[in-house]
Every structure is written in structure tokens, then in C-alpha cells.
């Protein structure tokens, strides 16, 4: 099942709809789209004004879109209350390591499935795909017990190690590798290149688009993952950003609104900047793959 990547300019079908001018329909539809955009954007604006307001003004009626007396106090408070810098570094480290790891293991596995013949290949591939249906919650309890037995509980390894394999990643890359013509490989083989050389020198360089896609999807997924760090990590200094953010609510959820808002803002802004720069790639990657991780 594949879905086609969106095209930059309106496609033939789009042109068709617009061919006959129905100005009112068009104006109406644009108005509707604008309203929807506003609904998507307003919450972010509100949270940012709360982040820049002082404690008493963060949460007042009527709500405002701009703080009356902007202050950075909430942002300083966030770093006092929780190791926010560590959250970001931890998340960066974990998401990057998993992404690199998955790119390596998945491309190797995908190469074997796409290009090599070996006994048990089909069965293995089907079994691999079937595990996509196993919900994480089934394996998480035994994984937790495993981590505690091996002393890896409350370390980043407890998150990283199980995430290094991804049936989905193998499937995605295999589909791409299958579309690469074999002529180059045949030529290389005649020159005496081994399997690894072919994989590393020919397949990998030709697969940059698919690898980028997997990399983006994997990174976004692990940057945002909440359930697993919630279970595997217990010390604030080791915690990842998504769970760390919730710690700002503090004891009895008594954390000040402004502090939580500042934390949320700081979690959102970097993503927004990266997203603005690479939006085409990111939207395309996530849309083609359909799945998150």
C-alpha cells in the first residue's frame, strides 16, 4: 500500500476542479481553510503568551494573545525546577542513536531480503511483517523485566537497545532497494566486489531518499515518544523531553501555568524551526511511509 507524494503545484485533478471558475465556492473554501488554520495555530499562540506572562497574569480571563508585561521569568524557572537542558540532550542523544542504529540494521536486513537468496527467506520476511501487529504493550512488560535483570533499567540503553530493530524500517528500505536496477551490481560483481562492498558502495549511496525518509520518521517518532521513557526511566537527570515536560506540573500538579507553558514553548520552538526549514522533506517522508516508526 503506497500513497503518492503530494505534488508541489496543483495537479491535473486540482486544475480540473478549478477550471470552471466558481468564485464563491473558492472564496468559501478558502475562508473555511483559514478558520481551520486558526484553530490549529491559536493554541500555540495562547501557550506562548502564557509563557511570557508573569505568574498571576498567565491564566486570566479574558484570554489574551499577547502578554501585557512580557517577562522571561518562566523560562528561567523551568531550568530551576527541572533539568530541562538534560531533557533536551537526553532526547537528542536517544533519538539520534536510535536513528543511526535503525538506518544501519534496517538497511543491512533489507539488503539481504532484497538481493540475496537464502533458505527461510520468505518465512522470515512474513514473520517479520506479522510482528508489526504485536502491540508494544504485550512486549513491554517482559522487556521491563529483562532490563531490570540486566541492570539496564533506568538507563538510556533500556530505551535504545529494543528500538534498534524495526520490521517497518526493513520493509520500507527493502521496497526501495527492489526498485534499484541491478546492472551496477552485476558490473561490480564482475570486478570482484563482495556483498559488503556492493551494499556499502552501491546500494547505500543510491538509497539516500529512502534512508532520509526512514531517518526523519524514526527521529520524529523517538523525539516524541512518551510511553517507553515513562516506564524505563526514573531519574529526572536521565529523563527524555516528553516525560520531562509533564514533570513541570510538579507535586499535586501544582506547577505554575506559566512554567509549564514556558516548557512547552521551548519544546515546540526548535521543532518549529527545523520543521520550517525541512517541511517539504518531513511532510513527504511521513506521508509516504504512513507509519510513525
Amino acid at each position: 500500500m503506497t500513497t503518492t507524494v503530494y505534488q508541489d503545484h496543483a495537479s491535473a485533478s486540482g486544475a480540473h476542479v478549478a477550471r470552471k471558475p466558481w468564485p464563491w465556492a473558492k472564496i468559501g473554501s478558502i475562508a473555511l481553510l483559514l478558520v481551520c488554520s486558526a484553530i490549529m495555530i491559536a493554541p500555540f499562540l495562547w501557550i506562548m503568551q502564557a509563557a511570557f506572562s508573569d505568574a498571576a497574569a498567565a491564566y486570566v480571563l479574558p484570554p489574551r494573545l499577547f502578554p501585557s508585561a512580557p517577562t522571561l521569568d518562566n523560562f528561567y524557572a523551568v531550568f530551576d525546577l527541572v533539568p530541562f537542558g538534560s531533557f533536551i540532550l537526553n532526547s537528542l542523544f536517544v533519538a539520534t542513536t536510535i536513528t543511526i542504529g535503525q538506518l544501519i540494521t534496517c538497511s543491512m536486513g533489507a539488503y539481504a531480503f532484497a538481493r540475496l537468496e537464502f533458505p527461510g527467506k520468505r518465512v522470515l520476511f512474513v514473520v517479520l511483517l506479522a510482528t508489526l501487529m504485536i502491540p508494544l504493550q504485550v512486549t513491554i512488560v517482559p522487556q521491563f523485566i529483562l532490563m531490570r535483570q540486566t541492570g539496564l533499567y533506568n538507563t538510556h540503553a533500556a530505551i535504545i537497545l529494543p528500538a534498534l530493530v524495526s520490521p517497518f524500517g526493513i520493509f520500507l528500505l527493502r521496497q526501495y532497494f527492489m526498485t534499484i536496477p541491478t546492472e551496477l551490481e552485476d558490473a561490480a560483481r564482475i570486478d570482484g566486489a563482495g556483498y559488503f562492498t556492493i551494499f556499502w558502495r552501491i546500494i547505500m549511496p543510491l538509497s539516500a531518499p529512502a534512508l532520509t525518509t526512514l531517518g526523519i520518521v524514526c527521529f520524529v517518532y523517538w523525539w516524541n515518544e512518551y510511553f517507553i521513557p515513562l516506564i524505563m526511566i526514573n531519574s529526572p537527570e536521565l529523563q527524555l523531553l516528553p516525560v520531562g515536560l509533564t514533570l513541570l506540573r510538579g507535586r499535586y500538579s501544582a506547577g505554575a501555568v506559566g512554567n509549564v507553558a514556558a516548557g512547552v514553548t521551548m519544546a515546540v520552538i526548535p521543532v518549529l524551526i527545523i520543521f520550517l526549514f525541512f517541511q517539504r522533506h518531513i511532510i513527504k517522508s511521513i506521508a509516504t511511509t504512513g507509519l510513525k516508526g
Binding site: S11, S13, W46, G109, P119, P135
Partner: protein
């Protein structure tokens, strides 16, 4: 069995060795973190273990508990209610917005729409849920304030059994909608224009074109989205956990929250595994059902 498959030539043998070497990291990770735990979960489901004392064999006690658990029926029902509502809304709104977007618009305008719809999808779910917990506050929230402006009384979004599932659904749809819009848009733009031209020659009106041409050609996309959407929605966890912590009562407690509660708050490892296995069965059946039903309505070009 193995000997029969043994390769004849050294070249073949080399290829097979290479294949297994390439697959080695995957196979190890797979055995240790997916297949092993899968069987371990089955094993755990017949023991009673709180991790602090030694595990005790419990036979089918956990399964009996599952069947007689009065909470789990409500929790599954809540999970399905929330999953169905989010799915239906995401598919419907996603399609509508994609159709609206699929027209000639100024580059900047269409870029702006795509960006604003899609951005919440890449933001962490906790940031989104925290944000909405403020917005849906009964007395101070932006949502009730705006509703108040048009004369609607304050809604107890997070404090009532009737409204709190709605709050969870809204938060989830808001976050995920962009993904559906983009995938639908891709689907729409891949429909060859000949189909539309032919329909127009036949004198079909806009609605007829949409229902007779666009929808059938889009049905594989709809199936794809509803399968992955269903699997994701049934496992919804962070939104209700942060917004309402499952309350009031069990009104927004989803099945994954229940697994988390039993496993990682009460340390009933056996029962948590049993519930997780029941979820596996449910997802398996739902997926099969969707593919089975899809034969009736999905149209492949």
C-alpha cells in the same frame, strides 16, 4: 530439513553466509526484544508476580480475573468509543480539508495551510496534551471563554463522564488531523485526470464526480488510513493520561492506561501481561475484520 537445503556450490554458500551476517543484528534484536518477550508474556500470564517477591504459578487465575473484571468491560468500551470517534472524525475532516486544499491556490497560501495543519503532528504528544489541558479548563480555559461569547455555558470538559471523552477526542483529532489531510491530498493528486475528463464528458455534476470517481479511486487510501488509524487509536494513552488521568471514574481510562496501571503502578505483572495479550487479540481481530470488509468497498485501479 536443513541438510536438504544445504547449498551446492561454494558461491551459494558464501551468499547464504553473507545473508545471515547481514541479518544478524536484526535477528538478535528480534529474538531478544520481540519474539522472546512475546512468549515471555504468555508465560507471565500464568503467574502472579509483583517483582518484589518470587513469582508464583497461578494457572488460569489471571484469565479468570480478566473475564470477571467489571472494570475492563467499561474500559474496553471507552477505548472503542474514543477510537471510533477519533477515526471517523479524522477520516471525514481529513478528506474534506484535503478536497478543499486540492485546488489552484497561491503557492504561499497552500504552503501555509499545509504547514499549519501538519505542524501539530510533529509536536510531542505531551506538549499538545498539556496545552489542551489549559485550554479546556472549565473556568479559565480559552475554549469555554470563546463558547461563552456565543452564549454557551461553561462545559466541564475534564470533569464529567460525558465531556471528558470528548475532550480526549478533540485533542487527538487536533494533533493527528494534518497527517490524514496530507495523505488524502497525495491520494487525490495521484488520480489521473482522464477519469475526470471522461466523467465530465458524460455530463456528471460535481457531487457525482466526487462520489463516483474520486471516492472509489481514493478507497485504498481510506483503507490504509483506517487500518493504521485503528491500531493507533486503540492504543491511545498519553492524551487521556495527561488530560484527565482516566477520570472521572473510569470515563476516559483506555486499555493501555489500564495495562500501565496494573503493570507499572500496582506491579501485577501477570495480570498486566494478560490484559496486554487480550489487546493483541483485539487488534488482530479488528485488522482482519477491516481487510475482510474492505473487499466490499475498496476499489483497486
Amino acid at each position: 530439513m536443513v541438510s536438504r537445503l544445504l547449498p551446492q556450490s561454494p558461491l551459494r554458500r558464501k551468499e547464504i553466509l553473507a545473508a545471515y551476517l547481514f541479518l544478524l543484528p536484526t535477528l538478535i534484536g528480534f529474538a531478544v526484544f520481540i519474539v522472546g518477550p512475546m512468549f515471555a508474556a504468555l508465560g507471565l500470564s500464568v503467574v502472579q508476580w509483583n517483582l518484589l517477591s518470587a513469582p508464583q504459578f497461578a494457572g488460569l487465575a489471571n484469565y479468570q480475573k480478566l473475564l470477571s473484571d467489571t472494570r475492563i468491560d467499561d474500559i474496553y468500551l471507552t477505548t472503542f468509543k474514543i477510537a471510533l470517534a477519533t477515526m471517523a472524525l479524522k477520516l471525514l475532516l481529513g478528506l474534506v480539508l484535503a478536497v478543499l486544499l486540492d485546488q489552484k491556490l497561491h503557492r504561499w497560501l497552500s504552503g501555509f495551510f499545509r504547514l499549519s495543519f501538519f505542524f501539530p503532528y510533529v509536536v510531542s504528544v505531551t506538549a499538545v496534551a498539556l496545552m489542551w489541558s489549559f485550554l479546556m479548563n472549565k473556568d479559565l480555559g480559552l475554549v469555554n471563554y470563546l463558547l461563552g461569547q456565543i452564549g454557551i455555558e461553561r462545559i466541564p470538559w475534564l470533569n464529567s463522564s460525558a465531556w471528558s471523552p470528548v475532550a480526549v477526542v478533540i485533542t487527538d483529532v487536533w494533533k493527528e488531523l494534518g497527517f490524514y489531510v496530507i495523505v488524502f491530498l497525495g491520494g487525490l493528486q495521484s488520480i489521473p485526470s482522464e477519469f475526470y475528463d471522461a466523467a465530465q464528458v458524460d455530463g456528471a455534476n460535481r457531487w457525482q464526480i466526487f462520489s463516483r470517481v474520486t471516492l472509489p479511486l481514493l478507497s485504498p487510501t481510506i483503507l490504509f488510513l483506517s487500518v493504521i488509524g485503528m491500531i493507533g487509536s486503540v492504543q491511545i494513552f498519553a492524551q487521556p493520561q495527561i488530560l484527565t488521568d482516566g477520570g472521572p471514574g473510569d470515563a476516559t481510562r483506555t486499555i493501555v492506561m489500564y495495562i500501565y496501571e496494573q503493570g507499572f503502578r500496582f506491579f501485577d505483572m501477570g495480570y498486566a501481561s494478560t490484559i496486554a495479550l487480550s489487546l493483541f487479540v483485539v487488534i488482530f481481530i479488528l485488522t482482519l475484520l477491516q481487510f475482510r470488509l474492505s473487499r466490499r468497498w475498496v476499489f483497486y485501479q
